[in-house]
Symmetry: C2
C-alpha cells in the first residue's frame, strides 16, 4: 500500500462534513449537491397519456444499465414536473429518449417548466412529435438520436422516495454517419450536449478513445482508423 498523506485535504480546498451539508441553505445545497455527480446525460423524454396528450420532459438522470438485454435507467422525483411523464409511462408502458442539440437547447430547457397536464410541451416549446409504426410514444423529430423504450422494471428508492425506471430499448433511430464500424456512437457527430448541476449546459471536445485496459500493458490510445 502507498503511504497515505498526512493531511486530509489540500490548501485551496473547501471541506464540508455531512453535518455542514445539512445546515446549508436549501437553494445552495441543491446547486452544490446536484453538481457533484459530474457531467450528465441530457435527454428529452417523450410520452403520451391514455387520453392522447403528448408530453415532453427534460431528463438528466439517465444511465446505461446493460447491453444484453438493452436496458437504460431513469430516476424520477415524483414531486416535481416529471410526474406527468412518470404517470404516462406507467400507464402506457412506453416512452422515448431523444438527444438535445444546440439548436434545440432553449426549447428543451423550456420543456422543464411546469405546464398544466393538458398542455403538450411539444406544442408549448415548439418541438415536433414524430411517431413510428411500432411504438406508441412520440419521438422528437429534431433529435439526431431517438430511442424507443418499454417499461421493464420499477424500483422504489426508499431513501428519498424516488423511482428508478428500467426501460428496454425496442427501437433505435440515429444518424447513420455517427456510428463507427465497431458500433461506437459518436455523440459529438450527433451534436449531443451534456448538462451539469441543475441548469448548466455544455458541448464537448473529444480527447480520444483508449484500448481495453490490461494489467500487464500501459494505457493505449485506440487508433481512430477502425
Amino acid at each position: 500500500m502507498n503511504d497515505p498523506q498526512a493531511q486530509s485535504f489540500d490548501p485551496g480546498f473547501r471541506r464540508w462534513s455531512g453535518a455542514d451539508i445539512e445546515t446549508l441553505p436549501k437553494a445552495y445545497r441543491r446547486n452544490l449537491i446536484n453538481g457533484l455527480s459530474g457531467f450528465k446525460s441530457l435527454c428529452l423524454c417523450g410520452s403520451i397519456s391514455p387520453q392522447g396528450v403528448t408530453n415532453l420532459a427534460l431528463m438528466s438522470s439517465v444511465i446505461h444499465v446493460g447491453a444484453n438485454p438493452p436496458l437504460m435507467g431513469l430516476l424520477f422525483r415524483p414531486d416535481v414536473v416529471q410526474r406527468d411523464t412518470l404517470s404516462n409511462l406507467l400507464h402506457t408502458g412506453a416512452f422515448t429518449l431523444n438527444n438535445v442539440l444546440e439548436s434545440t437547447l432553449a426549447a428543451a430547457h423550456q420543456s422543464s417548466a411546469r405546464y398544466p397536464e393538458e398542455v403538450s410541451e411539444f406544442e408549448a416549446v415548439g418541438l415536433t412529435p414524430v411517431f413510428s409504426d411500432s411504438h406508441i410514444a412520440p419521438y422528437v423529430a429534431e433529435s439526431t438520436l431517438r430511442i424507443g423504450l418499454t417499461l421493464e422494471e420499477r424500483l422504489d428508492v426508499k431513501s428519498n422516495d424516488t423511482i428508478l425506471i428500467i426501460g428496454r430499448i425496442v427501437e433505435l433511430q440515429l444518424r447513420a454517419d455517427a456510428v463507427a464500424a465497431d458500433g461506437f456512437v459518436d455523440l459529438e457527430q450527433l451534436g449531443s450536449l451534456t448538462v451539469s448541476g441543475l441548469d448548466s449546459y455544455h458541448r464537448t471536445e473529444a480527447i480520444g478513445r483508449f484500448r481495453y485496459a490490461k494489467p500487464d500493458l500501459p494505457p493505449q490510445r485506440l487508433d481512430d482508423a477502425l
Copy 2:
C-alpha cells in the same frame, strides 16, 4: 396536438428494431448500446477491503439521486472488475467518488484493468490514496473533487442482475475557487472530464446556465455575475 409527421424516421438515419439489436454481434452491440445514454459522469471510486487493501475503480454509472438528504447512486455489474469495489463497500459501508482530470486520465483508464484482488490499483496505476480523519475509504489526492459516502441502500435490478447502490454524502472536499456564490459547482474549473460509450473521453466547453423555466416566460440565460 401537433400533427405527427407521416414518416417514422428521416433519410440519412439508420433504424434498428428490438429484434435487430438482439442479432447484433456482441462487441458491436456493447459499443452501440453503451453510447445511447449520452455523456456520462466519470469518477474514480475508492474503497478499502476489511484486510486494508485499497481499491480504485473507474465508474461511469453514477447519478444524482437527491440533495436532501444528499444522495448519489452507482450501478454495479457484479460480473466485471468492479466486484472488488462492490464487495469492499458492502463490507465497510464506505466509499469515495473522485473526479478525473486530463492529467490523471491515462492512470484512471488503466485502473479499469482486471488486477488481482490483493493488488491496490492506486499503486498499480500511480495515483495517491489520501485519507481523512472521519472516513475509512481512500480519496484520490490528485482529484480536485472528492466525495465521501456511506452505504445507504441497495437495490437489486432483476432485469439483468445489476445492483444500484445508494450512497449518502458524509464528506465533501473540493477546490474552493470552483464553487459559485449560489452553490453551483463549476466542473470545468475543476478540470472534470466526461465519458461516452465504453472508452471515449471528452473535455467540455460551457454554453451557459439558464434560469429556472416558467410556462409564461421565454427561456432566459442566467447572468454569470451572480
